[in-house]
Symmetry: C2
Subunit: 369 residues, 2 copies
C-alpha cells in the first residue's frame, strides 16, 4: 500500500464502529489481507468482524506493542472525523509509532507532515508521514474535457454523506470486471485512496480546482478502461459539502449516475451527533436534482440505486430495495448484501447505448445493410 508492502495497524481508538471508523472499515473491506490489527483499547480481544462486520478474524488490540506482536509495521489513521483534525488522544499513538520507525498513513485534513514535532520524530527514526489528502502540487482549472471521453463515466451520488458511494463504486468495478468489462475506479476521498493506492481527495483541494483535479484523474484512468467508476462525495442537499459534490459532478461529467442511499436514514447528518438535519427528499426528487445539476454542464441519467441496508433485517432490506426500484423505475439493490449485478447490467446497457450513439453514421448504416 502506498509505495511498499505493509502490515497495517489501523488506529480507531474508542471508535471502532462502522459509522465512526469509516476509513478503517473501508480498508478492512477491501484490503484486509494487509491489516495486522485494529487499535481500540475499548474493544480489545474481539475480532474486526465482531465490531464492524468486516475484516474477519483481524484482531482488535489495546496498544502498539500488541499490534507489533501481530506483525504490524505501519500505522494507518482509521477515522475521518468531520473537520479532519488529529484527535488529541491519537497524538501519543502517532508519536510512539514513529519512534518505532513505523510509517504513519493519514487521510486527515491536517497534514501530519507539516507538524514540526511529528516531522522531526519521523526524520529521526527513518519513518515516513504519508498524507494522502494533500492536494497534488500541479492543479488545473477544469475544461469540460471528461464529457468527450470514449469511456463511459459513472459517478456514484447520494442522498447524504456516508451512504455507500465509495463501496458501491468498488462493488460495481468488481462486478463489471467479472462480466468481462474493463472497469476502473477513481478514488476521490482518503479511504478510497488507501484502497486504490491512487486518486485525489477532492474535499481538500482549493475549490477553484476541484473539477479540474477530478477531470485530470479521470482522463488518466480512462486510458485503459471502458467504464470509469468515480467515487462520489457528499450530497447536493448537504449544507456543508454540496460544494464538493457539484465540483465532482461537473468535473467528472458522467453520463451515468448511481444513486446511493442509506435505507434507514430519514434526515441529513450535518455531523455525527446531528439529529436535526433537514429531511432527505424522496429518491425521485433527489434523482431529479442530480440530473438537473449535471445537465447544467453535460447531461447525465441515474441508471440505478444502491441502498445501504446494514441497519435493517433481511426482509425489510429487500422491501426497501423493491420500493426504491418501483419509485425510480430502475434497478435497486444493496450491492454489498445482495450483489451488484442488477446495477452492473444497467451500466453495461448504458455503455452499449453510448457506443451506439457515438458510432459514426457510416458504420451504423453498414451494419443495417
Amino acid at each position: 500500500m502506498l509505495g511498499k508492502p505493509r502490515r497495517l495497524a489501523l488506529l480507531a481508538e474508542g471508535c471502532f464502529t462502522p459509522l465512526d471508523a469509516k476509513t478503517a472499515v473501508g480498508v478492512l473491506r477491501y484490503r484486509a489481507g494487509e491489516v495486522a490489527a485494529v487499535l481500540d483499547s475499548t474493544r480489545a480481544g474481539r475480532t474486526a468482524a465482531e465490531c464492524a462486520g468486516v475484516g474477519g478474524d483481524v484482531p482488535v488490540v489495546a496498544d502498539l506493542q500488541a499490534a507489533a506482536a501481530r506483525g504490524a509495521d505501519s500505522l494507518l489513521i482509521g477515522i475521518a472525523p468531520q473537520g479532519g483534525d488529529l484527535p488529541p488522544s491519537f497524538r501519543a499513538v502517532v508519536r510512539a509509532a514513529l519512534e518505532r520507525g513505523w510509517d504513519v498513513l493519514s487521510g486527515l485534513h491536517v497534514f501530519l507532515g507539516d507538524d514540526r514535532e511529528l516531522a522531526a520524530l519521523a526524520a529521526a527514526h527513518g519513518a515516513r508521514l504519508v498524507d494522502v489528502r494533500r492536494p497534488p502540487l500541479a492543479l488545473r482549472i477544469a475544461a469540460a474535457r471528461a464529457a468527450d471521453l470514449e469511456a463511459l463515466v459513472v459517478l456514484t451520488v447520494g442522498t447524504d454523506c456516508n451512504v455507500g458511494k465509495m463501496t458501491t463504486a468498488l462493488e460495481l468495478r468488481r462486478a463489471l470486471i467479472e462480466r468481462g468489462v474493463r472497469a476502473a475506479f477513481v478514488a476521490t476521498g482518503q479511504t478510497g485512496i488507501f484502497i486504490a493506492d491512487a486518486g485525489v481527495a477532492v474535499d481538500a483541494v482549493p475549490s477553484d480546482f476541484v473539477a479540474g483535479a477530478v477531470e485530470e484523474c479521470l482522463i488518466e484512468a480512462a486510458r485503459a478502461a471502458d467504464v470509469v467508476l468515480v467515487e462520489g462525495q457528499g450530497a447536493l442537499q448537504h449544507p456543508a459539502y454540496s460544494c464538493v459534490t457539484l465540483g465532482l459532478l461537473h468535473g467528472a461529467a458522467p453520463a451515468a449516475l448511481v444513486l446511493c442511499h442509506d435505507a434507514a436514514r430519514a434526515r441529513i447528518r450535518r455531523s455525527a451527533a446531528d439529529a436535526v438535519g433537514q429531511a432527505i427528499l424522496p429518491l425521485e426528487a433527489v434523482r431529479e436534482s442530480y440530473e438537473t445539476a449535471a445537465g447544467w454542464v453535460a447531461p447525465a441519467r441515474v441508471v440505478g440505486a444502491a441502498l445501504h441496508t446494514g441497519a435493517l433485517d433481511e426482509g425489510p432490506a429487500r422491501a426497501a430495495c423493491e420500493r426504491a426500484a418501483a419509485s425510480l423505475g430502475l434497478p435497486a439493490t444493496d450491492p454489498v448484501r445482495f450483489g451488484a449485478d442488477a446495477l452492473a447490467e444497467a451500466i453495461e446497457r448504458a455503455l452499449e447505448r453510448r457506443r451506439a450513439a457515438r458510432a459514426p453514421a457510416g458504420r451504423s448504416h453498414a451494419s443495417h445493410a
Copy 2:
C-alpha cells in the same frame, strides 16, 4: 488598505483593460483615492479612465520609478489570471518593488509569501508580502447557521464569471446606505477583499470548508447590519467554478438573490480565450436553477437582475434591461450605468417581508389591534 494607509501602484503590465485587469479595475472603481499609478508600459502616458473607463486621471506609467515619482509606496498585483499563477513577466517587477522596501499585495492563488526568493527579499528590505487569497488558519465546517440570522442575506449570483457580481453587491450597499438601511458587504474574492479590507477568498479554500468559511464571515458582518450583501462567485453552469458557487449559495443561505448577467455575452467563458463554452441559458432558466439549488438547503428568491451593459450603446443597454425585467417580472438595471435604486427598493421590500414573517405572532396581533 490592509493594515495601513497606502499609495498604491497597480501592476497590470500589458493587460490594463476591464476584462484582463479585473482586480485593478475594481480597486480603481472603489478606492481610486489610494491609487498613485497603474503600471502598464504598453499604455504609459494615458489615464486610467482612458484605458479602463474608471479611475479618472490616475496616470498609467511605464515603470516603478515613474510610479514612485507619483508617490507610490506599495505594489498591488492588479490581475486575477485563471489558475492564479504569477505571470513570469511580473516577477521582476515584484522583486524590484521589494528591493525598494514596498509591500506587495497579491490575490493570486500562488502565495508570494511562500516563494523563498521573494520572502527573503521582503525580509531583507523590511517589506511585507500580503497574500489576501490565503485561507484563514481556522477553518470550520458549515452548520447551516446563516439561514437563522436576523439580517436579510442577499447573494449576487450570475450567468457566468466576470459579469458584475462584486460590483452589483457594492453598488447595492451604497444605494441601501443612502436609503438609510444598515447594509454590510461580505467580500468572497481577492478584489472584493482589497476593496473591503476584509473577507475570505472562497475559491482558495479547501472545498470541504467553503460553506463554513462564508458562514463565518457572514455571521460576523450581520452583527451590525440589517442587510448583508454577499459577493457571489462563478456560476452554477460553469464547468470549472460551479463548486465555488454552490458552496457560497449554501453557506450564505441567502433569502434573496440578485441575478447578474453581461448583456453582451452569449456563451460561458471557460477562459479568457474561450469562444466555445456552452450557451448561456435564458435568464428565467438561470433564475430557476439558482432558486432550485438554494432550496436544497434553504429557500431563496431572485428579487431582481443586474445587467452589465458596458459593451452596448445606451439605447440597446436600456432595451436589454427592459427585456430582462419583462422576462423575469422583476426590476432589472445596470447598477453602474443607470443606478441601483430599483434593486435596492426590491431588497428593502424583501427585508420588510422577512421582518413581517419573523415577527412573533403576538406582536403582529398587537399591531393589528
